[in-house]
Amino acid sequence: MGDFPSRSASTNAGGPGVTARHIRSAGNGVSPIPPDDRPPLGGGSALPRKSRFSLETGFKGLSTAAGAMVLVIIVAIAIFLISKAVPALNANDESFLTAKEWFPNETPPHFGIAALAFGTLLTSVIALLVAVPIALGIALFLSHYAPKRLATPLGFVIDLLAAVPSVVFGLWGRDVFSQPVQHFSEWLNKYFSWIPLFGGDGPFGRSILLGSLVLAIMVLPIVTSLSREVFQQTPGMNEDAALALGATKWEMIRTAVLPYGKPGVIAAVMLGLGRALGETIALALTLGTTFVISFNLIQSGGNSIAANIANTFGEANATGRGALIASGLVLFAITLVVNMAARAIIYRRREFRDSAA
């Protein structure tokens, strides 16, 4: 790197900043300038003992207890659920994991989770396929294209959408939105019935499609506002760097904004998926309540774990409630797997993200 003696020799700024007064006050127990009887804050006499019980230890205990509380609650719920589910599962006449029908209240009870789990996953996945591209588009528009005067109120409206109770979405989906979806389904069936997704002879309407679209609308605000947050946090200097390399606005977004926001977007999608998987009342109102495994999206039918719990809990007997609780455990397991997969994706490029901080 060459030699540079004159330069390093002249840099004494920030060196050992010792003034005469500092030297005097250090050590030897003599306070330098006693203004009054109060010892100076930096000490001056013997080192005081640390107090054994202080706000510090108290707060540490408090936060530890709060953390431990989560574990206690989770374990308690798990024990409760399992203890209720096991007797029902033992009474089951069929294989719980592979059977499709749901008759836990009969004697002998026979029920299985397969159709419900399938419906849960199918509606959630379709909802995400619909919602995520739209949400990312809105988020990018709000963070990088819209003038501020428009972006702020529009962002507010999106957040408002997240505050609408799901039963409202459900009723709206059942009573209002089902009409256009039904017409759309009939149109799809007329021209595209050669695709199995859009086959069948009707009736159409309260279908997987309707449930998924309502779910998509519910998931949209979560994914949008979180993605907008992370897109807005893209360092301006990285955007400048991309632009200065001759990037157009979209290329700049592709080079600087999207890669930077990727972990955040994945987290947002997973939160959306969590909501979609667990959504209960909206699906209970819009799905057709059948117990079949079919990729047909437009025929009336479909069901999900949570919707089934809402629909049948009321008239369930002891075994029936146990069966529903067992189905809830399955939903819990699905959610867990999804979340762990998301974490794995985020951590895979962790090195890049952390060194950027």
Binding site: M237, D240, A244, G246
Partner: protein, 258 residues
């Protein structure tokens, strides 16, 4: 590989605020021009006006005429991205793309401009990193994140990224202000080397740096806060630092002002 920049009567605005007023100067090819002056005098604004990065900010606009080899940079028919490819920029703080590896950072500009062939990208990466005096330090870890390098290395990575696009002019906005003296020296050595191929304009707060590296020096100043910055004197670096014409320049470089 190097072009002449000519500014005549350039004024830049942020909304209604006029940041610089009537700047006129000619920068010859394959020279290093230093812009010095107190903070807030519009050096960086002028620099960002040259490659049209000024207009990225909302409500920012410029008046006057800026040309590169007699082509108007602000011609409405000119593609702004082409201007920025032709006039590269290195920023004050090292800003490698945090999600990209060293290699990906260097070839980012080429990829943006549609170069896909691996062999071309590999060659460009090696050549640019060598030009930026960084190759020996990073050749064994090209796939490591660019943000994991030291500050000085990151800045040289940014220079490599800029010259990989093969611009005509390289603008540097206080490229060493976040770096320690050793890294600063490395960048200055690099500038001498790059002078053979590029026209370089550097904004710096460090007058020793301006005196060391530049052929010509422009001194910017403002009368008081809120007033637009003006180009007080523009001449050979030798002359500016030994025998400036303007009293203000002399006061500034001798430390009596600013």
């Amino acid at each position: 590989m190097a072009k002449r920049i000519e500014a005549s009567g350039v004024s830049s605005y942020y909304g209604s605020f006029k940041a610089i007023d009537g700047i006129s100067m000619t920068v010859e090819p394959k020279t290093i021009t230093a812009l010095i002056g107190p903070s807030g005098c519009g050096k960086s604004t002028f620099l960002r006006s040259i490659n049209r990065m000024h207009e990225v900010l909302p409500n920012a606009r410029i008046e006057g005429r800026l040309t590169i080899d007699d082509q108007n940079i602000y011609d409405p028919d000119v593609d702004v991205t082409a201007v920025r490819r032709m006039i590269g920029m290195v920023f004050q703080r090292p800003n490698p793309f945090p999600t990209m590896s060293i290699y990906e950072n260097v070839v980012a500009g080429l990829k943006l401009n549609g170069v896909k062939k691996k062999s071309v990208l590999d060659d460009a990466a090696e050549k640019s990193l060598k030009s930026a005096n960084l190759w020996d330090e990073v050749k064994d870890r090209l796939n490591r994140p660019g943000a994991g390098l030291s500050g000085g290395q990151q800045q040289r990575l940014c220079i490599a990224r800029t010259i990989a696009v093969e611009p005509q002019v390289v603008l540097m906005d206080e490229p060493c202000s976040a770096l320690d003296p050793i890294s600063t020296l490395a960048i200055e050595d690099l500038m001498f080397k790059l002078k053979d191929r590029f026209t370089i304009i550097i904004v710096t707060h460090n007058m020793q740096q301006a005196a060391r590296v530049s052929d010509k020096t422009g001194f910017f100043s403002i009368d008081k806060t809120g007033e637009p910055g003006r180009l007080i004197e523009y001449d050979d670096t030798q002359k500016i630092f030994s025998n400036p014409t303007e009293k203000k320049t002399e006061d500034y470089i001798t430390g009596r002002f600013g």
